[in-house]
């Protein structure tokens, strides 16, 4: 009986210790002094959240510098400094608002399986919920049944989906979708694209073509191009962000699948190096689980206790 209770308690504690905050707290209990050993353990915690080596080393150096003059820094102070240092590496806090152009064209790009189509479905539902008229362009003509998947989302959201047959030219879909958005007087045109690895040159060229088609039909389009990133992705996300930005002039990031145990620390590295802001984060399956990004909340989530 007593053993069972103890076991449960320990189990509960172990779960807490798996989170970043829990780890930092546990570390603090074992090492009340901020010494080399402490910093080394902290380094591991940060690396474990996919911050990557350069950002981790910067954070440790900053912590070392700022704690130098404090005799006995307490846990709260340490956490505060760490949160501050992470936040300064994220883009300035300002909620994204829909640009004034009508129709405003938003294009989603990214590697395979990051959640572009799902994100697009959720965005459509949210815009419709705000009273906007939305047209969806099913630009993923490559993956089997990607169009059907988007059709289901479109029906749920109450948005028209412009589709072509599988294997059709995505540029042609973009053309028709742009024409339809203008003809229907839509507020927003959301364009899905097929997932592609950033190393496939011809597929990146295809994205450029889609952009040219959009720009020809609607001045200034696409007004936003968002790179969708999976929060479980490691250091490769940096290469993805660099290449997609170069090829598509991506204006922001949507970070998906933050509801698992992954912490998405890599966006800090991306923000710090490329200055690309995060527009939305996906934290669950529901439509409302796609939330506007807030640096404060993100840092809080990094440290969240669950």
């Amino acid at each position: 009986m007593a053993v069972g209770l103890f076991g449960r308690l320990r189990e509960g504690l172990a779960k807490t210790r798996e989170t970043l905050l829990g780890k930092v707290e546990a570390l603090f209990q074992g090492h009340p002094k901020v010494d080399e050993e402490f910093l080394e353990s902290l380094e591991e915690i940060l690396l474990g959240a996919d911050f990557g080596m350069p950002v981790t080393q910067e954070l440790i150096a900053a912590l070392r510098r700022r704690l130098k003059n404090e005799r006995e820094p307490d846990q709260g102070r340490l956490r505060e400094i760490l949160a501050e240092e992470i936040a300064t590496r994220l883009p300035a806090e300002q909620a994204w608002t829909l640009p004034a152009q009508r129709p405003c064209v938003i294009m989603l790009v990214g590697v395979n399986g990051v959640g572009k189509t799902t994100t697009l479905g959720k965005l459509a539902a949210q815009f419709v919920g705000q009273g906007k008229k939305v047209v969806i362009g099913a630009g993923d003509t490559f993956r089997a049944a990607a169009g059907e998947q988007l059709q289901v989302w479109g029906e749920r959201a109450g948005a028209e989906v412009i589709r072509h047959a599988e294997g059709a030219d995505p540029g042609a879909v973009a053309f028709d979708a742009a024409r339809a958005a203008v003809a229907r007087g839509a507020d927003v045109l959301l364009l899905d694209t097929a997932g592609r690895l950033h190393t496939k040159v011809n597929l990146m060229e295809e994205l450029k073509k889609v952009r040219r088609v959009l720009a020809r039909e609607i001045p200034g389009a696409p007004h936003e191009t968002w790179l969708v990133l999976d929060a479980t992705t490691g250091q490769n996300a940096l290469a993805q962000a660099k290449t997609f930005r170069a090829a598509t002039e991506a204006t922001g990031i949507v970070l998906t699948k933050l509801d698992g145990t992954a912490r998405g620390g890599i966006v800090v590295a991306i923000s710090a190096e490329l200055g690309l802001g995060v527009r939305f984060v996906g934290i669950g399956e529901g439509v409302a689980d796609l939330k506007p990004f807030s640096a404060g909340e993100f840092v809080a989530a990094l440290f969240r206790n669950d």
Binding site: D50, L197, T233
Partner: protein, 450 residues
């Protein structure tokens, strides 16, 4: 671009040339670089820690072979240990030795590539003379069932007719009975993507396992996964008892440290890897190659395979014959240019060549000549076949026409012709000399071993 590990290690060891043995400090310094390389490749930090400690122990006191640089020797130890950890020399083929219908269950996070991999696996099994039945059991993601049905149609492989309003466990059970009746010997179960912490959905997988008793339970994992790979793999393994792993999206430039993380926390072999969007791009896993890739050592074998895959044999033979017949002219040059272009970006190709990383670093900030190549091809395209076969006939007015036709300047055309003439002269000289003459050309001090 990172420095290659071998360059960093060579720098570390530069000072100890001529010494006979590696000291503790030498190894310590080297292991710091190894640690960094592994972390950059997304190997989990705990796995890195254990691995580095183990290798450090082995490397201290080792003799430094005179013929090798110590850096390379340490890398060899590291690479061999990595390969060993990833199961080199172990059996990693699919185990389908059971009474048919044999079940293969694929599971994993959302977006790992389960459905596509199911299609690839079915094709592979049919080529191995089995008769697979694809079973769509993802009733959650919109059109996931339809996706597998489309794949089945493309491959002409039967797909069990499930509907999104059915219970996934019931689908798998019925599919098994159906396969039994119809004589399909292998069931490929495509389950919905789920988070490893989603208790309800993990329970569903446990129920499918209990009901269908699949011979293989394979975790499908994205090669780009970061540090979280260990949590995911541990959770799936604890609840389901995995029999192996399929690593997907290895055709990108991710170093794929997740392979090592997953392998070391589950102990389960990586059985297959996904290396492309086409449905036949599912291959056997080679631990040695993966070790090289994780260390950023370049992968000449993959490069050769890539070349073989994109340039088909007939075309290569044709090109060689044309080269013999016509010599090296602008026509054959253009063919070669196009063949290289088909293999991917120059950057990704260079990344596969050991040491090329260094060369690329020296070109810092310089754009790779992708655009230049485009221009060159445009210029050649604007020539007449006669001009391509013999560029000497290209006079001033022809140059002007070519420049106009290709949207370039006459200077560009001149430059191309000049460079081409030089290249042609060199080719001719090399052909004339043969391997024997080549030696003479390089001179006595060349230091080449032949």
């Amino acid at each position: 671009m990172f420095d290659t590990l071998s360059e960093k290690l060579d720098a570390v060891f530069k000072k100890l040339r001529g010494r006979g043995r590696l000291t503790e400090e030498d190894v310590q310094a080297a292991m710091r670089e190894v640690r960094l390389a592994l972390l950059e490749a997304d190997v989990n930090f705990k796995v890195v820690k254990d691995f580095v400690a183990a290798v450090r122990e082995r490397a201290v006191g080792q003799d430094v072979l005179q013929s090798l640089t110590p850096g390379q020797q340490v890398i060899r130890v590291v690479r061999d240990e990595l390969a060993l950890l990833m199961g080199s020399g172990e059996e990693n083929r699919l185990d389908l030795a059971a009474r048919p219908p044999v079940g293969i269950m694929l599971c994993g996070l959302q977006g790992a590539g389960k459905t596509t991999t199911c299609g690839k696996l079915a094709l592979k099994l049919r080529r191995d003379k089995r008769s697979p039945l694809l079973v769509p059991a993802d009733v959650y993601r919109p059109a996931a069932i339809e996706q597998l049905k489309v794949l089945g149609r493309q491959l002409d492989i039967p797909v069990f007719d499930s509907r999104a309003d059915q219970d996934p466990v019931a689908i798998c059970r019925e599919a098994r009975a159906f396969a039994d009746r119809q004589g399909y010997d292998t069931l490929i179960l495509d389950t919905a993507g789920r988070l490893h912490i989603d208790d309800a959905l993990m329970l569903e997988l446990e129920r499918i396992k209990a009901d269908v008793e699949p011979r293989e339970i394979l975790l499908v994992a994205d090669a780009m996964t970061g540090q979280d790979a260990v949590n995911v793999a541990t959770a799936f393994n604890e609840r389901l008892g995995l029999t192996g792993v399929i690593l997907t999206k290895l055709d990108g430039d991710a170093r794929g440290g997740a392979a090592l993380s997953i392998r070391s926390v589950t102990g389960k072999p990586i059985k297959l890897i996904g290396v492309g969007e086409k449905l036949d791009a599912l291959e056997a896993f080679h631990p040695e190659r993966m070790a090289q890739r994780i260390l950023g050592m370049g992968d000449v074998l993959s490069l050769i395979e890539k070349a073989e895959a994109t340039i088909d044999r007939e075309q290569a033979a044709e090109m060689a014959q044309q080269l013999r017949k016509e010599g090296f002219n602008l026509e054959t040059f253009r063919d070669q240019l196009r063949a290289v272009k088909k293999m991917g970006s120059l950057e990704s190709l260079l990344g596969m060549i050991p040491g090329a990383g260094k060369a690329m670093k020296q070109m810092q900030g310089m754009q790779l000549p992708e655009k230049e190549l485009q221009k060159v091809e445009a210029i050649i395209n604007s020539m007449t076949p006669a001009e391509r076969r013999d560029h000497r006939i290209i006079n001033g007015s022809r140059r002007l026409r070519i420049a106009k036709g290709s949207g370039t300047r006459v200077q560009d055309v001149n430059q191309l012709l000049k460079q081409f003439t030089e290249a042609q002269t060199m080719m001719k000289r090399m052909q004339k000399l043969g391997p024997k003459g080549l030696r003479g050309l390089l001179g006595k001090g060349g230091g080449l071993p032949f």
